[in-house]
C-alpha cells in the first residue's frame, strides 16, 4: 500500500512540474516572439507607421498572435488579412468580449482601440522569406500565413517556391494541385500523407490547411505567369530521343515487349500520361500489384494480391477483397512481381535508351 501511495504522490508532483514547465514555456515563447520581432524589424518592408496602434498590438495581442500578426497555429490564428474576414465593428466586439480561449479586453477603448483597429486592418508587412525566390509581395494575409507554414514544413522537399526541391515534386505542375478547386484535394494529401511516396501526414488545423492551400495556389499563378523559360520539367524537354531506336529497344534489348504491347496494355498510353509523368511511369510504375500464393500447413493454397510482406508477416487480399495474413514461418509463400523487370533494367539503360524509349512511347496515342 505504501508503494502505491508513493506512486500517486510522484505522479501528482510530476503533473505539478509539468504545469509549471508549461507556464515557463509560454513565457519563453513570448520572449522569443519579442526577440525575433526585433530581428525582422530591421528587414521588414512597409511597416505600419501608426505607432500607437503598433504599441497597443504589442502590449495586448502580440503575445498570442505573434509580433508580425503571423499567429501561432493551431492555437492562435494569424491576424494578417483580418479585414477580409471581419468588419471593424466585429473586430472591436471580439476584442471587448473575447471568444473561446481569447480573453476579452473591455477596457481597450477610444483612441487606443481606434489605433489598434487601424493597425490590424493595415496591410501586413511581408513575412520573412529569404532572398532569391521570394513569392509575390502582394499576397494576402492568408497566403502569407500559409507561406510561413510552408517554409517551416514543406520547403525542404518541395522547394521554397513550391517548384520542387529535395525529393518533393514541383507542386506548381502537379496534376492534383491544378485540379484542386477549393482545397479539398490538397488538404486530403497533406492530412493523410502519401506513405508510398515518403510524403508524411501533417496534423494541421483547418485554418492552417486553408492558408497552405492559398499559398500553393498563389505559387501556381506566379509560376505560370513567370517571365522567360519556365522552371521544372516541360513536355518539350523530353523530346530528344529517336522513335525508331526506341521501338527497337522496346522490342529488343529493353525486353519491354515480353510483358507489354503497343496495341494492348500500352495502347493510348501517351494520351493518359504526358511528359515527366509518362517517363516516371515508364521507368518504374509505382503501385504496380504483385500476386502471392500462400501454402498453408494443411497443404491448402490461398492466392491473391500481395497486401503486405515483411520478414515476419505475409498478407494478401483474396478474390473477395478480404485481407488475410500469416506468420511467414508457418506457411510457404511465393510472390510474383512482374514489376521487378523494371528494377532489373535500371543498371542496363543508357540515357539515350531512356530518351529513345520515351520518344517511342509518346507515339502511342
Amino acid at each position: 500500500m505504501k508503494k502505491f501511495r508513493v506512486v500517486i504522490s510522484i505522479a501528482a508532483v510530476a503533473l505539478v512540474v509539468f504545469l509549471s514547465e508549461s507556464a515557463n514555456g509560454s513565457i519563453d515563447a513570448a520572449a522569443q516572439v519579442a526577440s525575433s520581432g526585433a530581428e525582422t524589424a530591421q528587414h521588414g518592408v512597409g511597416q505600419p507607421t501608426d505607432k500607437a496602434g503598433a504599441a497597443a498590438y504589442a502590449k495586448h495581442c502580440a503575445v498570442c498572435h505573434g509580433d508580425q500578426r503571423e499567429g501561432n497555429l493551431p492555437a492562435f490564428p494569424p491576424l494578417m488579412g483580418i479585414k477580409r474576414r471581419m468588419t471593424n465593428d466585429k473586430i472591436a466586439d471580439l476584442i471587448h468580449k473575447g471568444k473561446d480561449r481569447m480573453p476579452g479586453f473591455p477596457n481597450l477603448k477610444d483612441g487606443e482601440l481606434e489605433a489598434l483597429l487601424t493597425y490590424l486592418t493595415t496591410d501586413a508587412p511581408p513575412s520573412s522569406f529569404a532572398n532569391g525566390n521570394a513569392p509575390a509581395a502582394h499576397a494576402s494575409g492568408l497566403e502569407e500565413a500559409g507561406g510561413a507554414l510552408f517554409q517551416q514544413n514543406c520547403a525542404f522537399c518541395h522547394g521554397r517556391d513550391a517548384m520542387g526541391g529535395e525529393t518533393g515534386p514541383d507542386l506548381t505542375r502537379s496534376k492534383l494541385v491544378l485540379a484542386d478547386k477549393n482545397g479539398e484535394e490538397i488538404s486530403k494529401v497533406v492530412r493523410e500523407g502519401r506513405p508510398d511516396n515518403k510524403m508524411p501526414a501533417f496534423n494541421f488545423s483547418s485554418q492552417e490547411l486553408l492558408s497552405l492551400v492559398a499559398f500553393i495556389h498563389e505559387r501556381v499563378k506566379t509560376a505560370s505567369s513567370g517571365k522567360g523559360g519556365r522552371r521544372g520539367v516541360d513536355v518539350a524537354d523530353l523530346q530528344t530521343g529517336n522513335v525508331d531506336a526506341g521501338k527497337q529497344y522496346f522490342n529488343g534489348a529493353g525486353g519491354c515487349s515480353k510483358c507489354h504491347s503497343p496495341t494492348g496494355d500500352l495502347a493510348g498510353i501517351a494520351k493518359r500520361f504526358q511528359g515527366l509523368q509518362l517517363e516516371e511511369r515508364m521507368l518504374y510504375p509505382r503501385g504496380a500489384k504483385s500476386t502471392v500464393s500462400v501454402t498453408l500447413p494443411t497443404g491448402m493454397k490461398v492466392e491473391g494480391t500481395l497486401a503486405y510482406l515483411d520478414e515476419f508477416t505475409v498478407a494478401l487480399r483474396d478474390a473477395d477483397g478480404s485481407y488475410r495474413s500469416w506468420a511467414t514461418n508457418r506457411v510457404k509463400y511465393k510472390v510474383n512481381s512482374p514489376v521487378d523487370a523494371h528494377i532489373e533494367q535500371f543498371p542496363k539503360y543508357t540515357d539515350d535508351d531512356i530518351h529513345n524509349l520515351m520518344a517511342y512511347l509518346q507515339t502511342l496515342r
Binding site: V13, A14, V16, V17, F18, L19, S20, E21, A23, N24, G25, D28, V33, S36, E39, H43, G66, E70, S128, A130, N131, G132, N133, A148, Q151, Q152, N153, A155, F156, G159, R160, G164, E166, T167, P169, P200, A201, N203, G228, G229, R230, G232, D237, L238, Q239, T240, G241, L276, E279, E280, L283, D310, E311, F312, I343, F346, P347, Y349, D351, I354
Partner: protein, 530 residues
Amino acid sequence: MKSFKVAFVIAAGSLALLTAVAPMIAAQNLSNDDLLKPKAESWPLYHGDYSGRRHVHLTQITPRNIGSLTLAWAFQTNQSAQIKSSPLLVDGVLYFTVPDNVWAVDARSGHMIWRYNRISTTGDHIGHRGVAMYKGWLYFTTPDAHLISLNAKDGTVRWDKAVADVNKGYWTTMAPLVVRGHVIVGVSGDLDNLQGYLRAVDPETGATQWQWDATPPAGTPNAATGGMTWMTGTYDPELDLVYWGTGNPTPVLNGTTRPGDNTWTCAIVAIHPDTGKLVWGFQASPHDTHDWDAVETPVLVDADFHGQPRKMLMQSSRNGYFFVLDRTNGKSLLTVPFGPVNWALGIDAQGRPIPNPAKEPAPDGRLIAPDEGGMTNYRAPSFDPQTGLFIVDAHPSFSIYFAKPADGTYGWAGADYGLWGKGVIEAIDYQTGKIRWSHQVGASGSGAGVMTTDSGLTITGDGYGNVLALDTRDGKTLWHAGMGSPMASSPISYELDGRQYIMTSSGGVLFAWALPQSASVENQAGNGTR
C-alpha cells in the same frame, strides 16, 4: 490573485520534489573525463563516444537470451514530429529532442522530468538530432538557427545565441559536439546559396571562439557556396583532431557557375579543436551535382589494415562509396562502392571518385544511382571490432536528375525524382569493401541506424516499423518487435542498476527494451563496462 497563489503553491510543490529526489540523482556534472571514457551507465555524446563506432561493450543482452527481450517502458511525446535524435544519458536522465522541443526523461521509468518548448515560427523544421552536454548544461540548436544553453536540472535557459541568420536561409538541426572547452556547432541551408561553416562557441557564455568556413562567402566569382555541416563529427583525443563531414555545394544541381572541385564541399575534414584550423581534407564527391552530402559519421577505428596497424577513418558516404582513410593525414586506403553507382568514371590517384560530366543533371534527364537521398543518410552506421564489420543502412536506388537554364543558378537549380529504392543492412569488410552479408529491410525506403554490442548483436530496424536484432556474424534475425512506424533514428544502449537497456524510437515514441527483470538480475555477472 488567486491564480498567483496557485502558481506559488505549485512552485513550492515542485521545489519540494526536487529536494526529495536530489539524493537519488548524482550531480549532473559531465566532465571532460566522462566524455573521453564514457561509463556503461551513460551515453554522453551523440554517437555514445568520440569514435562514432556506435558500438557498446555491454554484454547482458546476448544472441542467446534476446528472445526474451521485452518492453521496459515507452515514452510518448504526443507530437506529430518524428524522433530523429539520439538521446543522451547522463546520471540516469535521458535528454532527447524534436524540433523546438527538448525532453528530460527518467531512464529507469520513462517518466518526464521536464520539457523545454521554444516555438519558432521561422526556419526549417525538417528534423532534430539531439542535444550536447557539458558539465551541468545542455546545448540545443533550433530551426531559427539559435544555440541555446539549458540547465540540465530543470530546462531553464542560461543563454540563447544566434549561430546563423535564419533570414538568409540557414537553419540548424544538429547535436553539437563538445570537445574540452569548445561547443562545436554546424549549420544547415540548401535552399539558398549560402556559405557553410563550423563554429566553436564558449560553453559558459556562447561567445564565438572560432569559425571554419567550408566555402568562400556567397558572391565569390566561380566558387561554390554550401558545404553545410549538419551532422555531428567525431574526435581523436590522441591526435587532438576533430573530424567532420561537409555537405553539397550550391547551387545544388547546376555546377556551371562553380567550376572545379568546390572544396571543401562533400568532404571529410580534420580540424584542430582549439584553433579551427584545417589540418587535412578529403573530398568524397569533387564537384558534386547530386546533393550527396558527405556528412555521414566519420567512424574512427584503430586496427590492422592489410597487416599494418593503422589509425583509420571510415565513412559510408551518401554518394554510394565506402571510404577508408589514414586519419593522421587524410590519405586514402580504400574507395569502393557499397551498392549500385553509375555517376563516376573511376577513382583518381587520391582515392576520390571522378564525376562523369555526362551524368550531371540535364534538360532531358539523366538516370542516376543512387538517388538524391543517397546510398545512406543521417542514420548512423556501426563498426563491430570483433568481426571487423562496418554495418550500414544502405539504400540501393535509381532516380532521374534534370537541370536547364530556366532553373537558374540559385538554390536547388534543377529537379530530381526518385524512381525506386530499397533498404538493405550491409556488413562491409573494411579491408576489402566486400559485403560479407546483407539483410533486406524493405522494398521501398530505407532501414534505420545501426548499433552493435560486444555480445554479437546488431540492433537496427526495417522499413516497415520493426526493430530488429541481428546476429553480427551473419545478419540473421534473432528478435524483432513492431513499433508502428519505421525508426528514423539510431539505437543506443546503456546499463542502469545492473540492467541493460536498448533504446529505439518510432514516430513520436521512445522505446526502452530490456530483459525481464528477473532474467537480468540472474545475468548480472555478465555485465560489462563501456
